[in-house]
């Protein structure tokens, strides 16, 4: 596999970074990359920018102060979120699973309770009073139910003594949930992420139960009580899109019908089965599908409904806030993952890959390794990201995927973000109630 990106040192290229992105239309928009600032501009001014007129460019840059991006050179705080890989094993055998159809390359393992407790101790200690999150992942975490339950209880008790707040999350296929699990999720306000790809036919194509039954039906049957009454829990569906079926709107519709109010999709970029991974023209087709789904969402939201397509909802929230990040996610910065054996890794996607190891629950986490990892991956040091207008929105793409498959689908990401910026402007006019401006007081 070829290494497509250089991950260290200063770039050699001399192409200057793109300072803004122009979006034409009835009300032209300018997205200033620094600080992710979005402006509406009058058409004449927009033309001047298109023509590269210096006075217009200066006027635009005078509209805000320069923004200094975090560079992780010093004082990196301890992570406030961990995921515990409590079961490196799964009762399903999904064809696309990065964990090798749940077999984890033949190393099925369960996390001992001592490791979980140690990781929780270090988390709460390091967070020093900040709110912390403990996530449970796998494989299928409910295969190691005992450790899951004890870890929740332990984390709550430790948090109480240390005076901090602890939140929980779990990523599950839903097929093993029992009544007691539902109670646990409700009572502790879990963020529950359920992996489901759409209606039964679509879902079961790749998400396969080992016993040959419908994984969709068995998941829904177990999830129904939680969907009907989530209590304090927040339940979301996450669909993986493989290249053999790029439809998005249909998945959202089916999962909404199944009772989910929060539905997100994610394209398959790496998989033990390369035939399913998106490539080439798939990306432009996926973009069409994403936009089709978003336009359906537009009709609902404009009429007063809340969002259910979470890719769009999150984009709106971040664009409104002007989120500008030098990294794609919190991995290694605010979030790390713990393997069944107690190894710290940069995230759940890099478990047991020595290139992403950060230490052990026994010995502690290496701050130097975290800093080195983050500095090397700063989006301003990546090619071709460094000059891309979307770099602080995208952050450069999933570290794990970039390392194994390079950067692909960048036009898709830019296309989607361009669409989202226009969507935000539309929504701002139709539903300003969704976007409060702090400080605007009558």
């Amino acid at each position: 596999m070829s290494q497509l990106v250089r991950i260290e040192g200063q770039p050699r290229a001399t192409v200057p970074p793109q300072p803004w992105h122009l979006l034409d239309g009835e009300r032209p928009l300018v997205f200033v990359v620094e600080g992710s600032r979005l402006f509406g501009v009058d058409p004449e001014f927009f033309s001047a920018l298109q023509e590269g007129r210096v006075d217009a460019e200066e006027a635009l840059m005078a509209s805000g102060a320069p923004v200094v991006m975090e560079d992780f050179t010093s004082g990196l705080p301890e992570p406030a979120a961990i995921s515990l890989n409590i079961a490196q094993s799964c009762n399903l055998s999904c064809t696309y699973c990065y964990a090798d159809e749940g077999r984890f390359g033949g190393k099925q393992e369960f996390m001992p309770v001592e490791v979980a407790f140690q990781a929780v101790d270090r988390l709460i200690e390091g967070a020093a009073g900040r709110r912390v999150t403990v996530g449970f992942i796998g494989g299928e975490p409910f295969l190691n139910r005992g450790v899951l339950y004890s870890s929740v209880e332990y984390a709550l008790a430790r948090a109480r003594t240390k005076g901090c707040h602890v939140g929980f999350s779990v990523t599950t296929n839903g097929t093993l949930l029992n009544d007691s699990d539902v109670r646990l999720l409700r009572d502790n306000g879990f963020a529950v992420s359920v992996s489901l790809d759409g209606a039964a036919g679509l879902n079961d194509r790749h998400r396969r139960a080992l016993n040959g039954t419908s994984a969709f039906e068995s998941a829904l049957e177990r999830l129904r009580p939680l969907l009907r009454d989530p209590g304090r829990a927040r339940v979301a569906a996450r669909a993986t899109i493989a290249r053999d079926d790029l439809r998005v709107a249909e998945r959202i519709e089916a999962l909404a019908e199944a009772g989910f109010a929060d539905i997100g999709v994610s394209p398959l970029r790496t998989s033990p089965n390369p035939d399913l991974v998106l490539r080439g023209e798939d990306w432009s087709r996926l973009l069409e599908q994403m936009i089709r789904a978003a336009e359906q969402e537009w009709l609902r939201v404009r009429a007063g409904a809340g969002f259910r397509f979470s890719n769009l909802a999150i984009a709106m929230k971040q664009l409104h806030a002007g989120s500008a990040k030098p990294l794609p996610c919190g991995s290694a910065a605010n979030y790390v993952s713990v393997s069944a054996q107690g190894g710290y890794f940069t995230c759940h996607r890099t478990i047991d890959d020595p290139r992403f190891s950060l230490g052990t629950t026994e010995q502690g986490m290496s701050a130097a390794r975290r800093e080195h990892f983050l500095q090397a991956r700063h989006v301003d040091r990546q090619e071709p990201c460094r000059t891309c207008w979307a770099r602080y929105l995208c952050g450069g793409g999933c570290h794990a995927e970039v390392l194994s498959a390079g950067r692909s689908g960048c036009d898709y990401i830019r296309g989607w973000l361009d669409y989202c910026l226009r969507f935000y402007d539309r929504l701002l006019r139709e539903r300003p109630d969704l976007f409060p401006y702090p400080g605007e007081v009558s």
């Binding site: 009058d42 805000g64 002007g322 007081v441």
Partner: protein, 541 residues
């Protein structure tokens, strides 16, 4: 016209705005005692003469306390002086021997005299504060001063100009003043002397009485809305009314020891109310704007009809209140007098809204924003927002019974239908193409509407002791026949005709038709009062 509009939060936060920080604005003051005392004025005048810093104290004489050779007003690159030559000479002098003499150790120089436009005033024997007032009287422009060495014979004359304290275009305070310099002699709030100091020199004003905190989303308690409480009270949970004097409140206030321990419990005050948690602005601020100016104008047409209808309902109800001479007991007499007065104030204010709504319609049309002409809107709505959201009731002429009062309160309720519609109007007018003037008109209507609600709640409170027997304060009023009310109705029709003509011409301030309509309103009032004395109300509709 502005070319760049900030849309998202970072764009808005980073928008560079010329001017002084918001904390220097009058509306940023949290107090209610001496609005405007946001800095010590003497600190402005201490730098009245470029390059020199004086101190205005209470003892005689005005000592020079510093020479600032870096004063931006001395530098032609940063300040265009009234006289470029004088600027050069003064700068050279202060940077040279004169400056050195003035700063020589163990010497004190004082401001001996000031001279402007041929008038010279000696400050030698004046107390510092008197001298300050005289310096204050200098106008911007050329000034000559004489400095004298205290205890010696030497004097130094200097020619310069009185500083322009703020940039006349931007209002920005002169860069000569250092951060904190304008407030440096004020008492420090939230500290020990917050309790006792009576010099009123507060950097940020010191609230003495406040209204109780309003829980967000909860209907305000009309009693609490009326009851000022002592801000410095030791029992923070107490909502007892403050005593009328400072001395009477003293006993229940935090003592010195306590204020040092619990200063953080003293609440922030916003819009007169204590706030102890995060302030949540009213949601209505972000109401949905109308898509087009025509849609906005159509809405204003129907809002004007609504204003007209409620104005008539209120007027009718007002005449159902007995005169003070018709009721027994001082409390009831005062109550009916108060209620009649307040009802009239609200009705008149609704008439004003009617006019503003028409003005908005007219302005939209004449700014070329609407696509078709509209006649003034002087119809009377047939239906009025009811007590439940979205519910409508038929317009009606009836007495001010407790139920009727509830209906009036429902119409005027903040975040009720009327308020909500104006919030949409405002949200639309806030878009840049509409300009400031229209937006401000809509804001006035909204703010006025809030007051109606409070006034109605006050009326309810005042009538509460008598609500068991409303007939004690109500006349047995029924609508008159058209014939009985002919005089009143003729006046009403005629004044509406005047208004229609006036609104059509768009000249809202000076039109003689408006004056004529006003005169007829007084006539209408007398005619209605005469009818009411006979138990009849004007059948407006």
């Amino acid at each position: 016209m502005e070319k760049i509009f900030a849309l998202n939060l970072t764009a808005r936060a980073d928008k560079t705005v010329a001017g002084n920080p918001v904390t220097t604005r009058l509306e940023s003051g949290v107090g209610n005692c001496f609005p405007g005392l946001e800095f010590d004025h003497r600190n402005l005048d201490r730098r009245f003469f470029p390059g020199l810093i004086f101190n205005f104290g209470t003892s005689p004489g005005v000592p020079l306390v510093g020479v600032d050779v870096d004063d931006p007003d001395l530098d032609p690159a940063t300040f265009e002086a009234p006289d470029a030559n004088a600027q050069r000479v003064l700068r050279t002098a202060l940077r040279g021997q004169v400056g050195r003499d003035l700063q020589q150790a163990n010497t004190t120089w004082v401001l001996d005299s000031i001279q402007q436009k041929g008038i010279s005033i000696s400050l030698r024997t004046q107390p510092g504060l008197t001298a300050w007032r005289l310096v204050r009287s200098l106008e911007a422009g050329e000034v000559e001063i004489v400095l004298a060495l205290r205890g010696g014979n030497r004097t130094i004359p200097l020619t310069g100009w009185r500083r322009t304290f703020v940039n006349p275009k931007t209002g920005v305070i002169s860069g000569a003043f250092q951060a904190g310099e304008l407030t440096q002699s004020l008492c420090s709030p939230w500290m020990h002397d917050f309790r006792d100091c009576v010099c009123t020199y507060w950097a940020s004003n010191h609230p003495d009485i406040v209204l109780a905190e309003q829980a967000p989303g909860v209907e305000p308690d009309p009693d609490a809305e009326e009851t000022p409480i002592d801000w410095l009270r030791s029992d923070r949970a107490s909502l007892d009314a403050a005593a009328p004097t400072e001395e009477d409140n003293r006993e229940g206030q935090m003592d010195h020891y306590e204020i040092n321990l619990r200063w953080q419990d003293l609440a922030i005050v916003l819009a007169g109310h204590e706030i102890t948690s995060v302030f949540t602005p009213r949601v209505l601020e972000s109401a949905n704007p109308f898509e087009t100016a025509d849609a906005l104008a159509d809405e204003l047409m129907s809002l004007a009809e609504l204003e007209h209808a409620v104005a008539l309902e209120y007027l009718y109800a007002m005449f159902s209140i007995r005169n003070p001479t018709e009721v027994a007991g001082q409390e009831l007499q005062e109550a009916v007098e108060f209620v009649s007065h307040e009802m009239l104030v609200i009705a008149v204010s609704e008439m004003r809204h009617l006019r503003w709504a028409n003005q908005l319609i007219w302005e939209l049309e004449h700014a070329g924003l609407t696509t078709k002409p509209r006649e003034p809107s002087l119809g009377v709505a047939r239906q009025i927002p009811g007590k439940e959201p979205g519910q409508l009731r038929d317009r009606a002429l009836s007495r001010l019974t407790p139920d009727r009062l509830d209906e009036f309160i429902a119409v005027e309720k903040p975040s009720g239908t009327l308020d909500g519609e104006y919030a949409r109007v405002l949200a639309t007018l806030r878009q840049p193409k509409y300009g400031d003037a229209l937006e401000q008109l809509a804001e006035r209507i909204l703010a006025d509407g809030m007051e109606h609600y409070t006034r109605f709640r006050q009326i309810q409170r005042v009538l509460k002791p008598f609500q068991g027997d409303p007939e004690r304060y109500l006349r047995t009023l029924t609508p008159a026949t058209k014939t009985q009310a002919q005089a009143a109705l003729t006046l009403y029709d005629s004044l509406v005709g005047d208004l229609r003509e006036a609104y059509r011409s768009g000249d809202m301030e000076d039109a003689s038709r408006i004056a004529s309509a006003r005169a007829k309103m007084f006539g209408l009032r007398d005619a209605a009062e005469a009818l009411a004395n006979g138990g009849k109300g004007v059948p407006f509709f």
